[in-house]
Amino acid sequence: VSGAGVIGGAPAPARGQGLDHVVALALAAMCLVLGIVFVEQRRAPTTGLQEPFDWQNPMLSAQPGQCVDVATEGTPGSGARLVVRPEAVVLRPYASKEGIPGWKPNLKWPDPHVFPPYLLVEQTRAPGPQATGMPADKSEPLAFPLGWFGMPLESQVVLRSLGQSTVTWNGQTRRAYVAELYGYLDFEGSIRVYLSKDAPALGVMRREFAGRSEGLRERHAFRVPESCR
């Protein structure tokens, strides 16, 4: 019986070793594939952020007729459309003869000739049934100083830092620059502006406000409409 067992069992170790080799090879292949997936997974999300820092002012590329819709999140009827006026980028306001047609002088900014260099846009009501916050015929020029990161002339802000990030905007994840601003007077607190050269007009995708004392939190979402008409 034992002899039969030895004879009969003789091929077993060889089969076992062969099976071990197959298992080892299969596991080695799995290690390789999983290792590649692991490395790629860790490399992918940081690729965008590791690109060299190279920010270019998107407002300088604004073209007449470009437009963007902006609305305060959670506030129906707050939608407004900003359309770049034919004057577009005004680098030398002091040399402008006409000033700004339609500009209503105010106490802080009575004379467009002494404005900081600016991008001129027309603000109108954004089309859509929910946009009821502004009369249909309401339209006014707005000046956005070129170095104020998409903030309007009336704001009192300073840039504190400019960093990089990735954001999802218009359904796409893209590289963005984030300007950290600080506001004074009427609004004292932090303002975060997400910028991209792909965003038309102001180059802004989103603005976030966090008031210092009043606990004010507000977000302005920018959206590219299908048509500017």
Binding site: Q17, D20, H21, V23, A24, L27, A28, M30, C31, L34, G35, V37, F38, Q41, R42, A44, P45, T46, L49, Q50, P52, F53, D54, W55, Q56, N57, L60, L91, R92, P93, Y94, H113, V114, F115, P116, P117, L146, G147, Q156, V157, V158, L159, R160, S161, L162, G163, Q164, S165, T166, V178, Y184, L185, E188, R192, R212, S213
Partner: protein
């Protein structure tokens, strides 16, 4: 062989767990390179000073910070900046400069350079581009700094480019070298050892 299989199994399990857990959170807002705008003129202190030599000659421009007012809900930040200049003979230029109130909310973090119109807020430099300069030769060293391109509307349209090299350790405006209107301004600042 069994030991090899055991080790491989452990590696497979570890990799699978690593993949399932996912990558570390993306660096998001805090990650990557950050241009530290608050560390230039915004954090300048009274008495801080920097001297620029123009075109490596005797002409100089010196900026010195005077009083500093911190902003808040009642007022915006403000710095008095004294400006002293010498001509190509090294003699003080009287009445050309003097000083001005630097208003960061209007002038940003660049010096106001329109001596013929000191209150010309409409002629502030326009920020065009900010780029990381990984190695820039300066005073016998190689430093990591920022190259900042701007437009000076006070100059003619075909020659209005301003190029600056900035480092947060350089006093007052953080600008240790700049080119404007065909001239080069170099600070007496030396990078830390």
């Amino acid at each position: 062989m069994r030991a090899l299989i055991l080790v491989e199994s452990l590696v497979v399990l570890a990799l699978a767990a690593g993949i399932l857990v996912g990558p570390p959170a993306p660096a998001s807002d805090a990650g990557g390179d950050v241009f530290p705008a608050a560390r230039f003129v915004l954090d300048a202190l009274p008495g801080e000073t920097v001297l620029y030599r123009v075109d490596e000659g005797l002409a100089t421009v010196r900026y010195t910070v005077g009083t500093v007012m911190v902003g808040g809900s009642k007022n915006t930040p403000k710095l008095h900046v004294d400006v002293a200049m010498t001509d190509t003979q090294g003699l003080p230029l009287q009445g050309v400069a003097g000083g001005y109130e630097h208003l960061p909310t209007r002038h940003g973090f660049f010096p106001l350079m329109a001596p013929e119109a000191p209150a010309a807020y409409d002629r502030v430099w326009v920020l065009k581009r900010i780029k990381r300069e990984e190695s820039f030769p300066w005073k016998g060293k190689t430093i990591r700094c920022w190259r900042v391109d701007a437009i000076d509307p006070a100059l003619k349209a075909d020659a209005d480019a301003v190029v600056m090299w900035m480092h947060e350790d350089c006093p007052v405006f953080g600008i240790f070298r700049w080119q404007r209107g065909g001239h080069t301004y170099e600070a007496d600042w030396r990078p830390p050892k």
